[in-house]
Amino acid sequence: MEDLVMETPEQTVLERLEKGAAPPPEAELPPARTFEVKNMSIWYGEKRAIDNVSMDVASKAVTAIIGPSGCGKSTFLRALNRMHELTPRTRMEGTVLLHGKDLYSSTIDPAIVRRRVGMVFQKSNPFPTMTVGENVVIGLRLNGVRNQKLLNERLEKSLRMAALWDEVKDDLDKPGTSLSGGQQQRLCIARALAVEPEVILMDEPCSALDPIATAKIEELIYELKSKYTIVTVTHNMQQAGRISDYTAFFYLGRLIEFGPTTKIFTNPSEKQTEDYITGRFG
C-alpha cells in the first residue's frame, strides 16, 4: 500500500477511481476543470435539497459557495466526495465527473473518492485521544502505511503546508485538542493534506475562529490553491470576495448564479444574487 501515498495526485487519481482500469491518456483530461456537475438533484427522504444543479469546478482555483442557510450549499459540497451518502434516506440524480470520470459509477469506491477529495469541517475535529502527530498521519496509517520514515516526512510536510509546523514542531506528542481553535483547524487541514488529495472541500472552515486564526486559514487557502482545487462554503461575503476565484450562489437548492468572484461581487447578473450579497434578502 505504500506506493499509494508516494504517488502525486496528478498521477494517481484516475487509477484509483477506476478499480483495475488503466488510466486514459492525459490528453483526454479536461485540463481546466476538476469537477463537472450535471443536473444534480439530491433528496433527503422527501425533501429536495439540491434542484437540478449543473456547474464546473475549475482546477487549482478556489470556488466559494454562498447562500442563505438551508440553500443546499453544504449538501452540494458533500456530494462532491459522496459524503452526503452517509446521511440515511439520501437519494441523488445527475452526474458528478472528476476529471471526466463518474464519481457515482458502480465501479468507484467511495472511500477512495474521499481520500482524493478531502474535507475540512466547520468545527475543527482532531481525534481527541490522539497526539498532534498521530492526528496528521492517521489517514496514512489507516491506509496501511507503516514506514516510519515516510510517516515522519509526510507529517512535517503536511504541517508545513498547513502553516503549522513552526508552532507545533515541539509539541507533536501533545494531544491535538490542546491546540488553540485556529491551530486545531489547521491541524485538520494538515490531516487532509497528509493523504495527498487533489481536492480540498471546506465547509465554513473559519466560522468558529477569531480574526487572526481566520486570516491564517485564508492565507493558507491562498497558498494551497497553486497545488489543490479548493471548494469552500462560507457565510462570510467578504471572505468569499477575498479568497475565491469563482463564486456560486445557491438559493432554495438551486444554483442561481455562478461566475468569476469579481463579477459576482461587483455586477451580478441575477437580481436574487444582488439582493443576497447586498443584504436585501429576507
Binding site: 461575503m237 461581487f265 450579497i277 447586498t278 443584504g279 436585501r280 434578502f281 429576507g282
Partner: protein, 231 residues
C-alpha cells in the same frame, strides 16, 4: 426600478445621507458656476465675490462625502451596486469640487475683466458656457437617474467643447495681435474658456462614473468611439 431596502436599516440611512450630500454639493456647484458666469456677463462683482466665498462650503462637503464614504466602506463593506454607488459618489464629489474651483477661477477672472471696458468677444464664451453647463447638468442627471444612455451622450459631447475652446482661443490670440491694448482682457477670456473646457472634462468624468454606478461598465478613455455611437 427601486431596489428593496437592506435588512440593515442603518445601511440604507447611510447610503441615503451620502447621496443627499452629493446632490446638495452638485446643486451648490451648479449655483456657483451660474453665479460666476452671470458675474462675468452682467459685470457684477458682487456675484463674483459670492461665488468665491461659497467655495468653502463646497470644499467642506467634499470632505464630508469622503468621510461618509469611508465610513460606509468600513462599517458595511458594500458589494455590487452598493459598492459601485459609494465609489462613484466619492469620485463624483472630487469632480464637483474641481468644477467649483473652476467657477471660483472664472469669478476671479471676471472681477479683473469688470475693471476694464466690456469686450464684444464675450460672445465667444457664451456658447461654450451653455455647452459646458448642459454637460454638467446632464452628467449629474445621469448619476441621479442611473441613466446609462444619457451618461454616454455626455461623454460624447466633450470633443465639441474642446473644439469650441480651441476656436475661441485662436480668435482671441488673433485679436491680441491686432489690439494689444486689450491684451489683458483677451488673456482673461482665454483663461475663462479654458476653465469651461475643464468643466466639460469634469462633467465627462461624472458621466463616466454615473455609467459605472449604473451598470458596472468602465467607459473611460473611449470618448471617440462613444462620440461615434451617440452622434
Amino acid at each position: 426600478m427601486i431596489a428593496p431596502k437592506h435588512i440593515l436599516g442603518t445601511f440604507d440611512e447611510s447610503l441615503s445621507a451620502l447621496r443627499n450630500n452629493v446632490l446638495m454639493m452638485a446643486g451648490l456647484t451648479e449655483r456657483s458656476l451660474e453665479r460666476a458666469m452671470k458675474g462675468l456677463f452682467d459685470r457684477n462683482d458682487e456675484l463674483c465675490a459670492t461665488t468665491i466665498a461659497d467655495d468653502e462650503e463646497i470644499d467642506q462637503l467634499e470632505k464630508q462625502i469622503d468621510k461618509d464614504g469611508v465610513d460606509i466602506l468600513l462599517r458595511f463593506q458594500p458589494v455590487a451596486s452598493d459598492l459601485r454607488r459609494v465609489v462613484s459618489a466619492m469620485k463624483l464629489s472630487s469632480n464637483l469640487e474641481r468644477i467649483a474651483d473652476q467657477a471660483t477661477t472664472i469669478a476671479r477672472r471676471a472681477r479683473k475683466l469688470n475693471r476694464h471696458p466690456p469686450l464684444s468677444e464675450m460672445e465667444l464664451i457664451k456658447p461654450m458656457y451653455d455647452h459646458a453647463m448642459a454637460m454638467f447638468k446632464d452628467g449629474v442627471d445621469s448619476f441621479v437617474r442611473e441613466d446609462v444612455k444619457l451618461g454616454c451622450e455626455v461623454v460624447g459631447r466633450d470633443e465639441k467643447l474642446d473644439d469650441m475652446n480651441q476656436n475661441a482661443s485662436d480668435t482671441l490670440v488673433e485679436r491680441m495681435a491686432k489690439d494689444p491694448e486689450q491684451l489683458r482682457g483677451y488673456l482673461n477670456l482665454i483663461f475663462v474658456g479654458r476653465c469651461l473646457e475643464r468643466v466639460g472634462d469634469h462633467s465627462t468624468n461624472i458621466a463616466e462614473d454615473a455609467v459605472y454606478a449604473a451598470n458596472a461598465e468602465d467607459i473611460r478613455h473611449q470618448s471617440q468611439s462613444l462620440a461615434a455611437t451617440t452622434s
